[in-house]
């Protein structure tokens, strides 16, 4: 049913055609923030797409070179505010690696639980926002309903709803209580039921399937070319997950699958994320069952953080893909260099090539399926 997409050659072979530039953004509902896309269009076909970034640049890397290790703690959660826990995790872990701190097991388990809860919350926001792009409004509100339940749990522990500053070098700033564990158990049960509802309402929907299947195909080759990771790469059939490939924290102790689909279209990326919610629930369930007692803070954490000079690196699987920090320390209280490798940036990079020849509507569906957080792109 899909119409013939004009390739570059067919355009040049035809009579002189009138093209125009459509400026999508920086304020546009489809760009989820302040991304700007310069689309060169032939009618409704996108001939060339050029993302223009930098509208949400917030100097995170520069700030890393300007303040002490402790003072940088609020920043990672604001780089990608939807997966704040993962970013915090990467940051505290890279410093812990530099200092050689051993984290107590209870703290690691709680980190995994909160991270996975955060992953679900992030995917729920994506689910809602993506469907909003496709013109369905109601699923957004259902997703936010469920997300509120996660936020309640996390707020009770961390004190904030979105930009948690919860992990510390050597552990956590406070322990979880019985109420949180009970609440999480109840949530896991609740969310399983809701996933079924989402599948009935959305996944199986004829209109949605027709909109996503075979649209915006991204090959594994393209992902490799631009360094795309996370659900985008897994949607292209590559079972790549930092949690499995370079296991960190206590992830090796849990059983979970890495969902991946070979189609590489928007539907594959959609299914990967929905399946990941289910897998996260699995991990949370196991982590709660195994949660050991004990302290949540390592004993030997120096009061002044001064990692020995050196080059340190740590990567985690954030909701959008591989997030890595490279830390260069010169032995002082302030990092010499703090390089952030953010997944959204690489995932956005392939948009220009993947969107070529698509209809505008499909190009925007493709953009939505990449799940971008713009401050994460611009840093």
């Amino acid at each position: 049913m899909s119409p013939g997409h004009p390739t570059d050659s067919s355009v040049s072979a035809a009579a002189p055609r009138e093209t125009f530039v459509l400026n999508v953004g920086p304020q546009h509902p489809a760009t989820h923030g302040v991304l700007r896309l310069k689309l060169t269009m032939d009618g409704e076909y996108v001939l060339h797409a050029e993302p223009v970034i930098g509208y949400a640049h917030r100097m995170h890397e520069k700030m890393g070179e300007n303040r002490t290790y402790v003072q940088f703690l609020p920043n990672p959660s604001r780089i990608d505010y939807l997966s704040a826990m993962h970013y915090m995790h990467a940051y505290v872990c890279v410093v812990e690696r530099a200092l050689g701190i051993e984290v107590p097991p209870r703290a690691e388990y709680i980190r995994v639980i909160t991270s996975e809860l955060n992953r679900i919350a992030s995917h729920l926001v994506w689910f809602g926002a993506f469907l909003l792009d496709l013109g369905a409004f109601t699923p957004l509100l259902y997703a936010f309903d469920d997300r509120e339940k996660i936020l309640d749990l996390l707020e009770a522990v961390t004190g904030s709803r979105l930009t948690y500053c919860y992990y510390r070098f050597g552990g956590l700033c406070n322990d979880v209580d019985e109420q949180f564990i009970e609440g999480t158990r109840a949530f896991v049960k609740h969310m399983r039921g809701r996933l079924g509802m989402y599948h009935k309402l959305v996944t199986e929907n004829l209109i949605l399937r027709k909109r996503l299947e075979g649209i915006g195909v991204i090959s594994a080759e393209l992902c490799r070319k631009y360094g795309a990771t996370g659900p985008v790469l897994r949607g292209s059939g590559v079972p790549c997950d930092v949690r499995k490939l370079e296991p960190y924290s206590v992830y090796p102790e849990f059983e979970f699958d890495v969902p991946h689909f070979a189609e590489g279209d928007c539907m594959a990326r959609y299914k990967v994320r929905m399946e990941e919610i289910a897998q996260s629930l699995r991990i949370i369930e196991q982590a709660i069952a195994k949660l050991p007692p004990g302290p949540v803070m390592a004993e030997k954490v120096p009061r002044v953080i001064k990692p020995p000079p050196g080059d340190y690196y740590f990567a985690v699987e954030a909701a959008r893909g591989r997030f890595a920090i490279r830390l260069v320390s010169d032995g002082t209280e302030v990092p010499y260099r703090l390089k952030l490798r953010t997944p959204s940036f690489s995932n956005l990079a392939l948009f220009g090539e993947a969107a070529r020849g698509l209809l505008m509507q499909d190009a925007l569906a493709l953009l939505g399926s990449l799940d971008l957080v713009i401050p994460d792109v611009d840093r």
């Binding site: 049913m1 509902p29 489809a30 369905a136 109601t138 259902y142 959305v202 027709k210 209809l359």
Partner: protein, 329 residues
């Protein structure tokens, strides 16, 4: 009715105007309430009891808002389009029989008039989009025209099929034929034409597309085209487009009620009256909202494919089949 003809017509048009105005205002309220309920929230509650004053506040706000024709726009057409979009819907209401005696102008080609005026509204959106000189508006306008042209054909095919069995284009007579209970409605008269439910389904889909409602809301594809054809309109200019959308839904639902659901007749066969017409009308309007708040938007080319590759052949098939039945009977 004892009033002489011209006065009667004027009185009815004023009535229709009030009806459309009220409907548009309160259908917006209803839509917000219904959407809210689907999403498990209360919707407008704080402005007046149950938010009933919300449309009035919105109206006042829109009236008090600046209206700017920006320098590059086509000044005349830009101002004309909002008025042009509402007028045809009003004209359609003139021939729709709300009750046994409640019909402004009862004449033999009523149905033709409805469809003739119904097509004008596309032109208004085209004018508005084109006069705005905004890329988003122009794209949306082009989409709307091709969409409405595509869906007018299956809609007329369905109506023609129906007319083959009914034998009249007078809306009042069409309703009269469906008197005496739910089994006499055109929707369930499968012994006259076994395709009746299918015809209704096609008509319903076409109605959604003609009124630019989700999942076919290409005119105001919010997440792609900003506000579509209305991007540059502010204040009451935008308000009129908004009203016209609901006026068109009322017209569409009215025609569906007249053609398929027995007009003002009650489903049990007793106590016919305008009341029943309104019940059916609003039930249809509710279903339109229900569809909107459930489904995502379709792609534009699939929308056209649906019409040209499925609905039009189906409509033609139904027409042929019905003609055959009538000939053989």
């Amino acid at each position: 009715m004892i009033l002489p003809e011209p006065y009667r017509l004027i009185a009815y048009l004023v009535g229709a105007l009030a009806f459309v105005g009220l409907n548009a205002a309160y259908l917006v309220w209803l839509e917000r309430k219904v959407a809210a309920r689907f999403q498990r929230r209360p919707g407008p509650t704080e402005v007046g009891p149950a938010g009933l004053l919300q449309p009035i506040a919105d109206g006042l706000k829109l009236l008090g808002k600046q209206f700017v024709v920006w320098p590059h726009a086509d000044r005349v057409l830009f101002r004309l389009a909002p008025a042009f979009v509402l007028a045809p819907a009003l004209m359609c209401l003139a021939v729709i029989p709300f009750g046994h005696a409640l019909c402004a102008r009862d004449f033999n080609l009523g149905l033709l008039l409805v469809f003739a005026f119904g097509s004008v509204n596309v032109l208004a959106i085209l004018l508005g989009g084109w006069a705005s000189r905004n890329k988003y508006s122009v794209i949306a306008a082009a989409r709307v025209v091709s969409q409405n042209v595509a869906y007018e054909i299956p809609m007329l095919l369905v109506v023609t099929t129906l007319l083959l069995t009914a034998g009249t284009m007078n809306l009042r007579e069409l309703v009269q034929q469906q008197a005496g209970g739910v089994w006499n409605w055109n929707l369930v008269k499968v012994w006259v034409n076994p395709l009746m439910p299918v015809l209704f389904l096609i008509f319903y889909v076409c109605m959604l597309a003609e009124t630019n409602r989700a999942p076919f809301d290409m005119a105001e594809a919010e997440s792609e085209l900003v506000a579509g054809a209305f991007t540059e309109y502010a204040g009451m200019g935008f308000g009129l487009f908004f009203m016209a959308e609901y006026a068109n839904i009322v017209v569409g639902a009215s025609v569906a009620t007249v053609l398929f659901l027995g007009g003002w007749h009650s489903p049990v066969g007793v106590m016919p009256g305008t009341f029943w017409f309104l019940v059916k009308l609003y039930a249809l309007v509710f279903s339109v909202m229900w569809v909107r708040w459930t489904f995502p938007r379709t792609q534009f080319y699939r929308l056209l494919n649906l019409s040209w590759k499925l609905l039009i052949p189906a409509g033609l098939g139904a027409l042929l089949f019905t003609a055959l039945i009538l000939k053989l009977r």
